[in-house]
Amino acid sequence: MSVRVRDPLGRPPALLMLPAAVAVLLLVVPLVAMVAATDLRGLPEQLRSEPLREALWLSVLTSTVATLFCLLLGLPLAWVLARLQFRGRTLLRALVTVPLVLPPVVAGVALRTAFGRTGVLGEPLLELTGFSFPFTTWGVVLAHVFVALPFVVLAIEGAFRSADPEYDAAAATLGASRWTAFRRVTVPLALPGIAAGLVLGWARSLGEFGATITFNGNYPGVTQTMPNLIYVTRQSDQDAALALSLVMLVVSVGTLLVLHDRWLGTPGVRA
């Protein structure tokens, strides 16, 4: 961050520069401190530990599957919100947004009420199929989808909105059905935004902790994702928790880089 000495508009006010600097420190110091405190020599051994590999694999697997569901369900919903005019659209968008601001623990409780063994959906499901979501890997996926879907829907809706609907009109005059226009025009135009939304959703589910542990407990190999593992390890082994956190930090920063590339590496395709 370089501030030119002779800014033609005058010196940047200290009242803005000081809080800005504090904000930067606040965001950076904890991460630097964490990296500094980690015993890097012990790291390879930590990485070989069975619980870590299990939890990391489970995290990546459930987040990826959850992102897939977000795509399958979120893309159509985003299209509905972006392209259809109907009464109650504002209300629908508000409902979609609620999980975004909901405390994750509350999300877990809500999921339990709906999909638990005695839940409104969980009970008939159990009677019909003998399957129940809580305390299973699918339960983890469900919790992830619940918290990540709003991010994905809103991001993709934004991408659809910035793809000019006039292109849909052009496609229609050329004889394209709405489905053809969606597939061959709207989606390709919104692709960078769709990719960004999915990466965002993936990152959100990777870090998901509250809803997952409330809904599914913390069973190694089944429902114990990385955040869960870090939480329990932290209570017994500080160093191991640091090492695990570092792994998550690397994965998160990697995600951010991908996101950055998607957003800035692909300039708007509109001519």
Partner: protein, 330 residues
């Protein structure tokens, strides 16, 4: 079944127009900005709801969805799909209608070649110049073999030379096209060079419809007159038309017929070719073309009171015809 286009269409608060067009003919739709030209086109293409009917070869388009109308629309600003090559843009229509990829691309290639841009097939729209992009847009509309071709301001935004070349070429293609063409434009030159008939739209209504000669020689309204670069003065049952070059400006009251003399303040002075075009707020507004020397000598600045006069021999008088074909009863 009547061949051609027969329209009696109403878009609330925007357009109410009745007109027809023969198969193989080009009908130019001219009018000032906001006259409802684009609204009319979008209603015919099915992108905007409209009441009434628009029968094409006997079939009412307004009963069909946009995709079933088989209408070719060249949008203002082209609206080529930015993620597709020129070839894929042109092949899009046939592909959407179920033509096999190879056949669609073959047809697209032929149309690009016919419009002289066969070598640009692989380019994306952002790699094309304005004129090239407009050719792709025209090819994209024509490749679907539409029964009605709608061209919405096809020359807007192109530089003068490119627009002129495209105008000539488009005229050639339209002469060979057996469907109905509606050409929306706000340049009188398009109407006069390409069209068989001209429809003047003003405030959503048909102000005049006729051959280019009729419209340019005998404009029915001041708006039409202005579009074709003429002055027209209404006098109960007659209209008097004359060119801006025929108008003489003076600071003192000129001699001659009092009916061909007006007085008012200069409203605007702008260059027009080698001359200076002067707009005077007389009743009605009149335009005069004078030499730059004369403009300087008379001190023509906005607000200056001047006299305008025109010789008896330089005007054309004709009856205002109340029973105009094609006008709409409100």
């Amino acid at each position: 079944m009547t061949a051609g286009l027969e329209v009696d269409l109403h878009v609330p608060d925007r357009v109410a127009a009745t007109f027809g067009a023969e198969p193989g003919s080009v009908l130019a739709i001219i009018g000032p900005n906001g006259a409802g030209k684009s609204t009319l086109v979008r209603a015919l293409a099915g992108l905007l709801a409209a009441d009434g009917h628009a029968r094409l070869d006997g079939q009412d388009l307004l009963q069909l969805s946009a995709r079933d109308r088989e209408v070719g629309l060249v949008f203002q600003g082209q609206l080529l799909f930015p993620h597709l090559s020129a070839l894929d843009n042109v092949a899009f229509g046939p592909r959407a209608r179920g033509v096999a990829r190879a056949d669609a691309e073959h047809a697209a290639h032929q149309w690009l070649a016919r419009l002289g841009i066969g070598d640009l097939a692989g380019r994306r729209p952002r790699e094309l110049s304005g004129g090239q992009a407009q050719r792709v847009a025209i090819a994209r509309a024509l490749v679907t073999d539409p029964r009605l071709l709608l061209l919405d301001e096809p020359f807007t935004g192109l530089d003068v030379k490119v627009a002129m070349a495209l105008r000539i070429e488009l005229g050639r293609h339209l002469a060979a096209y057996d469907g109905v063409t509606l050409l929306v434009t706000h340049h009188a030159i398009d109407a006069l060079t390409i069209a068989d008939r001209v429809l003047v739209l003003d405030e959503g209504r048909v102000a005049q419809i006729g051959t280019p000669e009729e419209v340019s020689q005998r404009p029915r309204t001041e708006h039409v007159a202005r579009l074709v670069g003429l002055n027209v003065v209404r006098d109960e049952h007659t209209l008097t038309a004359f060119t801006p070059e025929a108008v003489a400006l003076s600071l003192t009251e000129p001699t001659g017929s009092p009916r061909l003399r007006w007085r008012g303040p200069v409203a605007d002075v702008s260059p027009h070719g080698d001359a200076v075009r002067v707009l005077v707020h007389a009743s009605p507004d009149l335009i005069a073309d004078v030499t730059p020397a004369a403009a300087a000598e008379l001190g023509l600045v906005p607000g200056r009171e001047v006299w305008l006069s025109v010789k008896q021999t330089a005007v054309r008088r004709y009856a205002t015809d109340p029973g105009l074909p094609g006008t709409v009863a409100p």
